[in-house]
């Protein structure tokens, strides 16, 4: 029942391809006296894109929090990078209209918000300029430049989501933990952000773990799927996991996966909550 300490891996940023960024062995999590899932094994290397799928309340967000070190494990072992090397985007976070902080300030806090003391003006000019450039780059990469200087409370949900994604990217983390980042984005922006994440993954060797309810926008970027259901997990390439046989075995009830002519996956006949979700998972 003891929480496993998370190894504070002091590996410098460019991780060698061999060593996994993230490793989960026989992990289990209990929340409020109830075991959410157990026996989860997962190894993620640099530059790999992983999606976490499953119905509501199955413990996807809790999995991300566990990887982050914010929630303890009940069993098993976790090896994850230190907190400063992780970019985290929590689920459905909105700033209401009264929040008088600019988007760019929110992004900047992602870079230096944990530092104590005040930045001394006229000191460390080069570093400040570099930071400024990094912030602008992050904002530009998520296409949020147009409204980064507006109070974030006045931005729409999708605009806020992109600014928050920029915040998660601004530290150039080794591991990105994203909880439904495509939530509240329209379809063109879903594929744009998916493409951006795919590019960051491939080009910068960042490991991306992303919770999603619709796998289709990210399907052709994915290396691996973790499908959580019924307190267990199936892990593997999407073409192997999102099949009628695997999901039927996982749920213990008949589930059918249909493939449309344009390659989209549609899961039908799923038991419990998730039925309503349209092209869910």
């Amino acid at each position: 029942m003891t929480a496993q300490p998370i190894e504070q891996a002091a590996v410098p940023a460019p991780a060698h391809a061999g060593a996994p960024v993230l490793q989960l062995t026989g992990a289990a999590v209990r929340v409020g006296g109830r075991t959410l899932w157990s026996g989860v094994d997962l190894t993620i290397g640099a530059g790999e894109f992983t999606a976490v799928l499953g119905p509501n309340g199955v413990g996807k967000s809790t999995l991300l929090k566990t990887l982050l070190g914010a929630a303890p494990t009940a069993a098993g072992e976790i090896r994850a990078p230190g907190r400063t090397e992780i970019g985290y985007l929590p689920q459905r976070r909105t700033f209401d209209a009264g929040v008088r902080i600019r988007g760019i300030d929110v992004v900047r806090l992602g870079l230096d918000g944990h530092r104590w003391g005040l930045p001394v003006p006229f000191l460390n000019r080069a570093r400040r300029r570099a930071e400024r450039r990094r912030i602008d780059e992050a904002i530009e990469s998520t296409g949020a430049t147009g409204y980064a200087h507006r109070p974030i409370g006045e931005c729409s949900g999708g605009e806020q989501q992109r600014l928050l994604l920029a915040q998660a990217l601004v530290t150039r983390p080794r591991l990105l933990l994203l909880d439904e980042p495509l939530d509240s984005l329209d379809l063109p922006n879903q594929s744009a952000v998916a493409a951006l994440l795919g590019r960051i993954c491939r080009e910068d060797g960042v490991a991306v773990v992303m919770v999603a309810h619709d796998v289709n926008p990210i399907l052709h970027h994915l290396d691996r799927v973790v499908y959580l259901a019924e307190g267990r997990a199936v892990t593997g390439p999407p073409r192997e996991v999102i099949t009628s046989e695997t999901l039927t075995r996982l749920y213990g009830a008949p589930v059918e996966v249909l493939r449309t002519t344009d390659g989209r996956l549609v899961v039908v006949g799923m038991p419990d909550e998730c039925r309503s979700g349209g092209p869910c998972c």
Partner: protein, 301 residues
């Protein structure tokens, strides 16, 4: 309690002469010094309070300041010590309530309201017990600039310096934790400890402001300048600077007005602060009508 009844000085619009005249009274010099310190400290802390939406906690602290000062008067201690002791104690209690609370967000509970009512009642009792109190409880409730001693100014300075130093030291993580709690926690910012620490700073700032505005009008320096600044700008550094300047202006203008007019200081400080807020809202409305282009929160940087 009104100075103008005993000193028939008239405002001449010759500002240099007026200021020289006011500052020929040591108690006025002390009042201006105390006002400056209080405005800066209350402004800076208040800006974070408004951002964190802890106005109710601030209100509770200010109400608790009254019985503290009344008790101090009763037992013959400086009111400054009374304000400070009561506010810091209340801050510790509220922080404790928060910790035991589920997610540590709002403490807007019936319990706090109950404590507020009891605190006011205690203050009333202490005031009644101390029959000889100059002008009754009014000065403690609505503020005065009379009788601020050099010793009190020194205490205000020390406490204010400590508050500002701490705020400078953990202002940035506090801003992070205030605007984005979950991500800040994920980055290793100790959000709970910061929340408790901030309540202590808020207690100290409330106690300082009570000295000038009385415990009931503390918001004139704690909330109004910050709210005004946040109407005008969404830039953190500019907003903080603006808050401090607005608070300072309201405080000093209030002191000048109260010196020359037979009306109480608390009224003037609050009125000037409120006028600033109304002006800011009007400015924003006009700007909004003209177009979004000119928002100071926009393009430049």
């Amino acid at each position: 309690m009104l100075l103008a009844e005993t000193t028939p000085y008239a405002f001449t619009w010759n500002l240099v002469a007026d200021v020289r005249e006011m500052w020929s009274f040591p108690f006025m010099v002390n009042a201006f010094r105390a006002g400056a310190i209080v405005a800066v400290v209350a402004g800076a802390v208040g800006w974070f309070m408004v951002l964190r939406r802890q106005t109710f906690a601030g209100h509770t602290l200010s109400v608790v300041a009254f019985p503290g000062a009344a008790l101090a008067t009763l037992i013959g201690v400086s009111t400054a010590v009374g304000y400070l002791g009561a506010c810091l104690l209340a801050a510790v209690v509220i922080a404790g309530l928060r910790e035991s609370g589920r997610s540590g967000v709002a403490v807007e509970s019936a319990a706090t309201g109950t404590v507020q009512a009891f605190a006011l009642a205690c203050g009333f009792l202490f005031v009644t017990l101390y029959k000889g109190m100059l002008g009754g409880p009014q000065a403690l409730l609505f503020g005065t600039f009379l009788g601020i001693t050099t010793g009190q100014v020194a205490l205000l300075t020390v406490v204010g310096a400590v508050v500002l130093t701490l705020l400078a030291a953990f202002g940035r993580p506090l801003l992070f934790a205030s605007s984005d709690r979950e991500v800040a926690a994920a980055r290793g910012v100790p959000v709970r400890a910061l929340g408790a620490g901030f309540l202590l700073l808020l207690g100290a700032a409330t106690a300082e402001a009570s000295q000038i505005t009385g415990s009931l009008l503390v918001f004139a320096l704690l909330v109004v300048p910050a709210a005004t600044a946040q109407v005008l700008t969404a830039r953190p550094v500019l907003g903080l600077a603006l808050t401090v300047l607005l608070g300072l202006a309201a405080c000093w203008l209030g002191l000048i007005a109260a010196f020359y007019q037979p009306y109480p200081l608390g009224f003037f400080v609050t009125t000037f602060a409120f006028a600033g807020y109304v002006l800011a809202q009007l400015t924003r409305a006009v700007r909004g009508a003209v177009g979004r282009v000119a928002l100071p929160t926009g393009a430049t940087s």
